[in-house]
């Protein structure tokens, strides 16, 4: 239950989690939220869209808020502006999510505190897709400096 920013911690979150609620998931294929969610879906995660403006995204039923999701969520992945995160953090705590994840460019200390106090892990200012590809393979093919040095096969 901590603020996670290192490779070991991010790897643990990515390997232990199976279900990702994506707050603000757009139905437009060229939006970053769609890119990220499709990538995670293609890599075996169950994507649960949360967006009051949509009924279905990526073939999955869309919920207006986190609290209406009738099943367990591991990661709450936030594609919303920083001031909108604290109420999402409270919802994430209420539904028993394990990780509050704020996307690249998004930080909110108040939201982080709400989640940390309730025993969730918190990730800020990182893209779930980029981190998955960085740590579990794929991003290296794009010439990106992953920071990974290892004498073991990827995974």
């Amino acid at each position: 239950m901590a603020l996670i920013d290192d490779i070991t911690g991010l790897r643990r979150i990515l390997l232990q989690s199976r279900t990702i609620a994506v707050i603000g998931l757009s139905g437009s294929w060229y939006r970053p939220s769609f890119f990220a969610a499709k990538y995670m879906q293609d890599h075996g995660y169950r994507i649960v869209p949360v967006n009051p403006a949509c009924d279905e995204v990526l073939g999955q039923k869309c919920y207006p808020t986190l609290r209406e999701i009738p099943h367990k969520i591991d990661i709450v992945d936030c594609f919303r502006k920083p001031p909108e995160i604290p109420p999402i953090a409270r919802d994430a705590v209420a539904i028993g999510a394990k990780v509050l994840w704020m996307q690249l460019g998004i930080r909110n200390e108040e939201a982080a505190k709400i989640a940390l106090d309730a025993g969730l892990d918190v990730v800020m200012n990182r893209c779930v897709k980029i981190e998955h590809a960085r740590i579990l393979g794929g991003l290296n093919w794009a010439g990106v400096n992953t920071g990974i040095v290892s004498a073991r096969r990827p995974g």
């Binding site: 970053p32 499709k38 990538y39 293609d42 290296n140 010439g143 990106v144 040095v149």
Partner: protein
């Protein structure tokens, strides 16, 4: 817990390559293939939409080439890299991603001759205008900036003037104008200088030189720092839907490596100066010993510079590591571990004149190789006035920093006494 920070030497050996997922191969496999199979129609669509990372066609990306890209990006402290067939190609990819018809570049006047021609002749044909300024006067860069300027371009160590750039000052001027500073770091290599740490936004290398280090293989690379704000309003090509890639917004979608993705998916994909996987393998093999080779290049070059300074047949020596060098103070600041492996010197003009003595010196060399390259493991020598700059008249040569008597040495890794022996015997013959 914070991630362990690996040292430069470790990155030379490991960055960009972990054991192969399929086979466990420890050395970097050479993926000598043009194309990669798709798992399904949906996988193919995701790849073309850039929704997943993966390989499609080796013109765009290849796992062997990608290992080189990541390694150099790591050594430069950058976010991402894009390799190309040559240094000239890498530089072209960077600049054509930044600038288009009607745009403007401010560049140092003392650039490698090939770069000067690429800007002054080829880019001019594309409608991209360049103003060349005195690299030793940072204010000259500021004065040349226009509303349509898209970057400042300079070399860490100018070639062949060997002037060291005040990177911090010029980066400040670029950032004031909200444009990136692009630095060619070829002659320094990241072992001597990491321009991103001093404010550069994009670093270019001819990997052919010290990075590859053995004179076997052509290659180039651009590295993006990940720190430049492409959303500042001056680069709509980064922040609006791409015409070249059906509506992707590169800055928004790829964040701090959006520039490299745009350079790869648009500029490289459509112009095509790709590095071959085999070349990437050879260059990467060279990089594994960069940290061992560069100190020796620097030590031997300094010893040669001192030796020449004391030789009665030598009129002058230019090496940034010598106190009399015009940019010695900048060299101490930006190249504290050594001033590189390249120096120039002039012979005293006797009866036959300095230029003729220079030609004779080259012809007398027995171990030093007379050829047009730098940064080989072997010692190289050239007389620019009669070779690389032969097409220019005397006045043009002087403007480019090439004096008639100038000889350029790229000091290699041979036994130092043997290098000095060859220099001394060639000097004796040149005087005769």
């Amino acid at each position: 817990m914070a991630d362990h920070e690996f040292g430069f030497e470790t990155l030379c050996l490991h960055a960009g390559h972990i054991p192969d997922a399929a086979t466990g191969a420890r050395a970097l496999p050479i993926y000598q293939t043009t194309s990669f199979v798709f798992d399904s129609a949906d996988h193919a669509a995701s790849l073309f939409n850039l929704q997943t990372f993966g390989n499609v066609y080796s013109r765009i990306s290849n796992p062997t080439v990608a290992a080189l890209e990541e390694r150099v990006a790591a050594l430069e402290g950058g976010r991402a890299g894009l390799a190309a067939a040559t240094g000239m190609a890498a530089q072209m990819l960077a600049l054509l991603t930044l600038a288009q018809n009607g745009d403007h570049i401010v560049a140092a006047r003392t650039l490698y001759g090939g770069t000067y021609s690429q800007f002054a002749v080829t880019f001019a044909q594309f409608g991209i205008d360049t103003t060349f300024v005195d690299a030793d006067d940072p204010q000259a860069f500021r004065q040349a900036i226009r509303p349509n300027t898209k970057c400042i371009y300079a070399e860490t160590i100018g070639n062949p003037q060997l002037n060291v750039l005040d990177i911090v000052a010029v980066a400040g001027i670029a950032h004031e104008a909200q444009v990136p500073l692009v630095i060619d770091n070829t002659l320094a290599s990241p072992w001597l200088c990491r321009p991103i740490e001093h404010g550069a936004d994009i670093v270019i290398h001819s990997v052919t030189k010290y990075l590859g280090g053995h004179g076997t293989t052509m290659g180039g690379i651009l590295v993006e720092s990940g720190k430049f704000d492409w959303g500042n309003g001056k680069f709509p090509q980064m922040t609006t839907p791409s015409r070249g890639y059906h509506g992707v917004i590169f800055h928004e979608t790829f964040g701090d490596f959006g520039f490299t993705m745009k350079a790869r998916m648009e500029t490289m994909r459509t112009l095509g100066p790709t590095l071959s996987p085999f070349s990437a393998f050879l260059l990467l093999q060279g990089i594994e010993t960069l940290h061992l080779r560069m100190p020796r290049h620097c030590e031997s070059a300094l010893a040669v510079a001192r030796h020449l300074s004391e030789h009665p047949a030598v009129a002058w020596v230019n090496y940034p590591g010598l106190p009399q060098s015009a940019t010695h103070e900048l060299s101490r600041r930006y190249l504290p571990r050594g001033a590189g492996g390249i120096l120039t010197f002039g012979l005293k003009a006797r009866a036959r004149g300095g230029a003729a003595a220079g030609e004779r010196f080259i012809e007398a060399a027995r171990m030093m190789s007379h050829l047009a390259n730098v940064g080989d493991a072997k010692t190289l020598v050239i007389h620019p006035a009669s070779t690389t700059h032969r097409q220019l008249d005397d006045a043009e040569q002087r403007a480019a920093g090439v004096l008639p008597e100038m000889i350029r040495l790229s000091v290699g890794l041979e036994t130092l006494d043997d290098i000095l022996w060859d220099i001394d015997q060639a000097l004796a013959q040149a005087q005769g």
